[in-house]
Symmetry: none
Subunit: 404 residues, 2 copies
């Protein structure tokens, strides 16, 4: 039997629905990958008695609890106070935490506001979890059967603290048999299309199949039990990979860690010593934005006149314009790869969620010219993001030798 | 006192984190706008005893509960069974529900699978909620102090049923007094800096003060009771607005609806008939990306050579380069406003979360030249996003006549 784990989110912004609780889903997935059975999520607001009652309920019910939120400097941040009261551990001033909070402001050349001093108050005997991402230290303590971990609610801080400090500690503190997760990351296929493609694969009962449709990929997830034979695992993953074909841009959970599409492209651009210049239209800057931090992007531009003037052209005219733009850009920038994006559609189709646009991506590389075409429907933010990913994916397919 | 409401989500896909529970946030906002106080969200999986215990806890604790999920046809859909058992209301076959389920398949020219018959079983005395969006009827019943409403978990079905049937019923079933929410949206101030600035404002006890720090703004939220006098509301909002000064880019909840920073800029750019060209560095395309859908952006470019060559220059040199770039861009594009972003820092500082960069934003507009400078620390994605917002905010300040 796996140890049980509950997730507890504190904050009016969660309970009132102003913020969707993405932390809970992220933590649940992490906990399952550690080998816990997640039994419950609870969110409560800023009422001290609600917090105290819930902490006591969980202490009697679960082996572990990860709590997020309520560690901020303001008067509605009540987690430490609730813990002190529920578990009878008076708050004590932690000098090291206080120094860290002061340093956080020093590094930013800002005086520490008086209210932040409160964040150095931790429940007696709690183990401090140092926070280099923000001002609120986390903390952890045992009460009755449950090991409680308290983290800030800001997702980037919470994730940093969890991966760096909490996860390694949980893996030694509990006897866990982490399952083995393999995720096939694809772009350009919906969940039902994937289901169709894999429908003839025989999946043993001990393996859990799941899907996760995110904004930047669709993942097909295979959760293998702790002791599943490696050769059987590999052969099942290969079977999935063959069914999903070129749509797979990365497989996570095998040898090397994988990232998002830009990260996978970065590996290959760097290895092959390529540089890139981009002309974007429907993606409207987001193509360049997704390549932030990578040295191979040397120029990116958006011009309304290009975006607008090509919307009614036919395939031949578009190809001619794309070639011309690509060659001119190559001459100006000396980049080894040029990505040109154009799109067509009715006037206003980009903004109209019920109208589709056709996105054409052109790649000039190693003296050859490649092209893909996709139709995209939905709100403008979806069109912008899909146009970005589908254009980048043409580059990925070339770099992974998937283009004929 | 508002009646209290809890939200209860059923399903392994929520508890394991494969699905982010957006239903809970959506329902919470709807409930608050109806005049409920939302006190708790809970998610549990497919264990019958967990469901029964939770239903009994809620029956004793809340005035109303909206439950989603677990109404499907398969063996892990246990909600009706759990209700029958927890509240001692045996399941009964509902002929009308059965007819509706059959019709659902008839309309699609598909035979009704045998498993769907189960969806016509409802707890004794439950009020059926007809579902024209899918196969699972919802149902509602009173137990102890709590009015329970059970809806399917598919978001489109849940929302349709809630808006069409549940909400009108709740508004007559409960005595509700919808509150009034006002949010001051700011950029460039952290939550604790805001607390410092507003600390002398006397806030009546009946008003709830809250904060929401998002990636794109920090919101100071005032929740006024139903019957709060309009003149008192306006004067308190004015007091907040004056304390927060130029940092406020929009106030939500007064007359006209507001949006994000780009949306607010759009109103003014359109009214004043301006056009914009952008040269970006640290924001790396994201400045253009945030302006997607607005016609006044006519050109945006990122050039690695500009981003890199200026990183070690002093203020005077930077100003000279920015002026030169701005004038050249104005000549080429004929845009009425030119936004130039440059940044300085150690090599690699953009990628190093412990090193800060200095972002300089320059605006050439109506023959005048304006400038702001900000230090940004943190992961590259935060630096990119903050650089984007802070450069855009210079334009917003000019358009709102906040620059001297």
């Amino acid at each position: 039997m796996n140890p049980t784990l509950e997730i507890f989110s504190q904050g009016e912004e969660i309970v009132t629905g102003q913020t969707v609780d993405t932390n809970a889903a992220w933590l649940a997935q992490e906990a399952i990958h550690c080998g816990f059975t997640v039994t419950r999520h609870t969110a409560v607001g800023d009422k001290l008695t609600d917090l105290i009652n819930l902490l006591n309920d969980i202490a009697a019910r679960a082996d572990c609890c990860i709590c997020t939120g309520g560690l901020g400097p303001t008067s509605d941040d009540l987690t430490a106070e609730a813990v002190a009261s529920a578990f009878n551990r008076p708050l004590e001033f932690d000098d090291i935490a206080f120094e860290q909070i002061k340093e956080f402001f020093d590094r930013r050349n800002r005086p520490m506001p008086e209210v932040n001093k409160k964040q150095a108050l931790l429940p007696q005997t709690a183990k401090r979890i140092d926070n280099t991402w923000g001002t609120a230290p986390g903390f952890a303590l045992q009460h009755q059967r449950c090991w409680f971990v308290f983290l800030p609610g800001v997702p980037s801080e919470m994730k940093g603290l969890f991966l760096e400090h909490v996860k390694p500690d949980l893996l030694t503190r509990f006897t866990l048999q982490p399952p083995h997760l393999v995720s096939l990351k694809t772009l350009g296929l919906g969940e039902s299309a994937i289901q169709e493609l894999i429908k003839d694969i025989k999946i043993p009962d001990t393996i859990e199949l799941g899907f996760r449709a995110g904004t930047d990929d669709v993942q097909t997830k295979l959760l293998f039990p702790f002791d599943y034979p490696k050769t059987d695992l590999d052969s099942l993953v290969t079977e999935f990979s063959e069914c999903l074909g070129d749509y797979v841009f990365a497989i996570d959970g095998l040898e090397e860690p994988t990232g998002d599409l830009a990260f996978e492209i970065d590996k290959l651009m760097t290895a092959k010593n390529h540089t890139l210049a981009i002309i974007e239209t429907a993606s409207h800057g987001l193509l360049a934005a997704k390549c932030v931090g990578y040295d191979w992007l040397i120029q990116a531009s958006y011009e309304k006149s290009v975006a607008v003037s090509t919307q009614k052209l036919n395939a031949e005219e578009l190809m001619a314009i794309a070639k011309n733009l690509a060659l001119k850009t190559q001459e100006n920038t000396r980049a080894s790869a040029i990505l040109v994006q154009l799109y067509t559609g009715d006037p206003g189709a980009l903004r109209d969620k019920n109208k589709s646009i056709q996105v054409l991506s052109f790649l000039l590389i190693d003296k050859a010219f490649y092209q893909t075409t996709h139709f995209i429907l939905g709100p403008i933010s979806r069109k912008q993001n899909q146009a970005t990913l589908l254009s980048l994916d043409l580059l990925r397919r070339y770099l992974q030798d998937k283009l004929i």
